[in-house]
Amino acid sequence: MTLLRRSGAPGTSADPGRKVPGEEGIWVFVLGDMTVFALFFATFMYSRGKNHAVFARDHAELHVSLGTVNTVLLLSSSLLVVLAVQRVLGGRHAGAWQLIAGALCCGAGFVVVKAVEWTQLFAARKGVGSGEFFSYYFMFTGIHLMHVLIGLAVLSRLIVVIRRAEFTDKQARLCETGGIFWHMVDLLWVVLFALFYLVR
């Protein structure tokens, strides 16, 4: 982080014109979280290699279409958030909260689709104890779902902040930071979607 801070200040001789997006601290969290998930991804791929037949069989139980819908929802919510952050950083925060509200709806849609999917799987007697594939599936997508819920709380907070009459640079930076967290949630799902739903 010292390295980041040293080169992160805008206009320094080390990296002129470049600045750390959002608060510096968010990057410690984001990169740390991404590393933990990278270990999850690797563990999954290792177990898949060891029990390929079982993983291929259980993978067929998942609905690729539901995973695809959720991917589109998160990618679209990310676009709405980045458009809102661009407005906020450009000093045009007036219409930004509606964009964040749209992102919030997409995020809520993700939770609904996941609930439908899990309900279907539970009805088919698939759960955390239904073999290695489903243990990984419910554990990793469950941990990711927690991130989505935290992200929804963050987006709700941003709406409140943006709608306040008084809007300072500090609040603009808070929006940028919240946006980075939401993009991380999106980014982690992109890999989870590929590993659980697409790779046979």
Binding site: L4, S7, R18, W27, M45, T68
Partner: protein
Amino acid sequence: MTATRRVTLVWVLLLALTFGSFLVGVEQGAGFASVGAAIIVGIAMLKVRLIGLHFMDVRAAPRALRALFEGYVLVVFVVLVALDIFVKP
């Protein structure tokens, strides 16, 4: 190109890549399973890179942060594909 247009085009590209990887996922035959997995993981990591560079604005970040991010994308891709190829029952 305006920033709004750029991120919107990135979003269109992300959706196209999602659809492309969906097709590879559906079409991958038993004999081409490893090739299919490498393509799918490759597309996923490309999407991760696009989200990082354009949505999280890592492209404009200090070089150290950009290097960490690019390194992450590359390492995760190599490790996942290597595990897919070399780990056998």
